[in-house]
Point group: C2
Chain length 481, copies 2
């Protein structure tokens, strides 16, 4: 394993293609699509075969960082300081540039393997071998991509054609080659020809290169971006404030690393990899990664089905009954349900677009929202009231806070609650309750060893999450000073 | 209008065919399938064109009577004493026989028009004309059925072929004829032949006859049933207890009025009626009665649809997104969702059968349950707790009650609550709350003019609705003495 190797997990995502299971604030990487781990947890475990957790950088945005921290809580201490936060999405080149600055800061000879957080890979050992070979080629100055052998005439991916020679390096059965050309998403006929030719590979979006090399190549092919990154480096070195750096970042050109740098570089190389891969691009691609029953169905949750075939049926705790479906997708969540033929899966994003324009909450987040201290679930919202179940992990506590416009009632339904209300501090057990008046400082804490569940009833003219004044917070969130 | 005319609304139903909108305790007649009224409300309004509300008898069972009383609350005072309750379903002949005993008791010359509570009729004036002609023929001793002109080769209905002569009576364009023969549900080929022949009619299940005549015909063709009804009459005349009468009723033979009496009678007559009729037998038949959009869809509730055709999409407050559906049924309710092709609509009852065997709550009732004082909605149930929103109508109050195994917390979210707790009585307004310990007598009442809403959080080892001891009840429900 290279002594200089770092991993960068690209964890952004818009949450449109797996709606209603994914949401704007809860994109695909956070979903448990197959197995016990979410996709970002799977990605984390995968890179740990190549690097130590202290060398894994997470590239994400402020809205998603908290959920990612919760999901990667197992490695919390080692990941401390490893989040590279984009203040807003500017496509892949600025995000990778920002991560590269951090890698160079830690190790001028650092090599970075870049992995999207929401891909599925099967074949751990073969993946690690590809990373090893990639690192070797990267240290020799190549910009390495992993090419996937096509198994269908896919029109949704870019393709890469490698040169046959020279062979740039070898690791077991794997070898790397210079790239002859990149091809943008082809039409169906071209894709079929590529599949038949056997000399084209899917661009997986996984890369390996030296951080210094990619920064040089950005300077060369995207000079405006290169200058911007240079100024950010100066600010970072000078210990500038977060907001100054964020302001600069927002002004960077929005460029993809593929079209902006890779396709223009003289150093692009490709390793035809031999592990199984899927980017699980939409609901119909679930079949590539999830087990099917004898009738070809992928069925999850509380489903009663009669005679369906080749369908994808995702339920949760609500009952979904299906009869005689064929090649359909049915996805049920607590607040929204999707029904469409598999062949229309890619149009789910059109539905999300409509919902976004309507500012519908169903595109933004789930009824259950995860927080560093636990989670809350909205049970019902109506005029002047909101009912939540709040779950606090053992030892967890919410911020010391106050609301201007709402009072809250708390009833403990499991565990023990330590309540701060004004100047008082007291404990409540199951079946006990308390009321928190408007404009009263309060805090909810779980002093016990089991999970605390309370029902919270809010009353007031305005019940938005932003009516909150925080006085102290264990998790470093905005606090009033 | 006949001075002797009574209406009998047959309001039973198993709630299987419109699941998940219908439930065992909430069958089709209680649904708002089209328009502002539920089907039983529509049926009630329809018969009021022919009879006074005091002459409308409701034939139903104990489980459904309360919901029907709530829905027919507009005529509450006039319907007092008009519920003819079967202790258990014994098919149509015993139910009609029991109603006939009540009609004869009120008027020995009483004529009864019998209407299923869950059919849709369009053409009020033509319906009233058919009832008038039916009553005239009934007074002359005929057992009259309404025949519907077939519009498709339906295999789900019985057919009736009338004789061409003699014409038994006339009212405008309508005339009645003796029945030549009844035919049970035919096969597809026979149904197609009947449709083509033009001399066969669908048996609508609506009847008109003298109560005394149908009792005589039951005696003649179903002597065991006749004897049973005779004994029930004796008990009723003697002022016997409800339970004695119920015991006798349970022993009556289960016979349909069609096969058991009509098909054997020499007095069967048929009026070919000219109003529009549907028995809305399953989800696909919704199209016969509900308005369709330009693409042939029937869409209700919070639906975002792209490109669907000829589909039936019923949502409520949850979001349902559909893309490119063709001839599908999607029905979403707070606790269950159904997805099936229209052509499989009749198999919904198979799903309900599976759920019944699993004792699944989703086949029994909805999360919202209506009571004489208002309603409650289960927001969430979990181990050791249940959260409800309870709605109390102005002036309504729940029984004075006690629970052995659960405590309750009430938070007022709208209106004013008058609370009895042990010996105390006090009022709570929005944002106020109280706790009711286990084994404490309590009562919730709405003393105000607006609807009262509270959130109730229950805690305890057992949270079934049957853990209730009632000390006083305004609505005559079981009270501990």
């Amino acid at each position: 394993m290279s002594a200089h190797l770092y991993a960068v997990i690209l964890a952004g995502g818009s949450g449109t293609r797996f709606w209603p299971l994914s949401r704007h604030l809860y994109p695909k990487q956070l979903l448990r699509i197959m197995g016990d781990d979410t996709l970002i947890q799977q990605t984390m475990r995968r890179v740990l075969g190549s690097v130590d957790p202290g060398r894994v950088l997470i590239s994400t945005n402020p809205a998603q960082a908290e959920s990612i921290r919760v999901q990667l809580g197992e490695w919390k201490d080692r990941l401390e300081g490893n989040f590279v936060i984009e203040p807003e999405g500017r496509n892949t080149a600025p995000a990778i540039g920002l991560a590269a600055l951090e890698v160079v800061r830690r190790d001028p000879d650092g090599v970075m393997v870049i992995l999207p957080a929401d891909h599925v890979v099967k074949g751990e050992a073969r993946f690690q071998a590809a990373v090893r070979l990639g690192a070797t080629l990267a240290e020799a100055g190549h910009l390495v991509t992993f090419g996937i052998k096509p198994i269908r005439p896919e029109t949704g991916y870019g393709y890469i054609q490698p040169k046959r020679a020279p062979r740039l390096g070898k690791e077991g059965k794997l070898a790397g080659y210079p790239v002859a050309r990149f091809v943008e998403k082809p039409d169906a006929r071209t894709a079929a020809r590529y599949l038949k030719a056997g000399t084209f590979y899917w661009n997986s979006g996984m890369f390996v290169w030296k951080a210094a090399t990619i920064l040089e190549e950005i300077d060369k092919h995207q000079p405006a971006l290169g200058r911007g990154l240079g100024r950010i480096k100066q600010l970072l070195d000078a210990g500038a404030s977060r907001s100054d750096i964020d302001g600069l970042y927002r002004g960077l050109p929005s460029v993809s690393i593929d079209t902006g740098v890779m396709e223009r570089s003289a150093h692009a190389a490709m390793i035809p990899v031999d592990f199984q891969w899927s980017d699980v691009g939409n609901w119909s691609s679930i079949e590539e990664v999830a087990p099917q029953d004898q009738a070809g169905n992928v069925i999850n949750g509380k489903v009663v089905d009669l005679d369906s075939r080749n369908s994808i049926i995702y339920a949760d705790r609500r009952l979904v009954a299906t009869i005689g479906l064929s090649d359909m997708v049915v996805v049920d969540t607590p607040d929204a349900t999707l029904v469409c033929p598999k062949e229309r899966s890619q149009d789910v994003k059109k539905v999300v677009e409509i919902l976004r324009k309507q500012k519908a909450p169903e595109q933004l987040e789930h009824l259950t929202v995860y927080r560093p201290w636990g989670s809350y679930t909205i049970l019902e919202e109506g005029s002047g009231y909101k009912v939540k179940r709040v779950t606090v992990n053992p030892g967890g506590r919410l911020s010391l806070q106050m609301h201007h416009q709402r009072s809250e009632h708390w009833v403990v339904i499991a565990g023990t609650a330590r309540v701060t209300r004004g100047e008082e501090i007291f404990d409540l057990v199951v079946g006990q309750s308390t009321a928190i008046p408007t404009q009263t400082r309060h805090r909810l804490e779980n002093p016990g060893r089991e999970i605390l569940h309370i029902i919270e009833v809010q009353n007031g003219p305005y019940l938005g999450e932003d009516d909150i004044v925080r006085f102290q917070d264990d998790y470093g969130r905005n606090v009033k000073r």
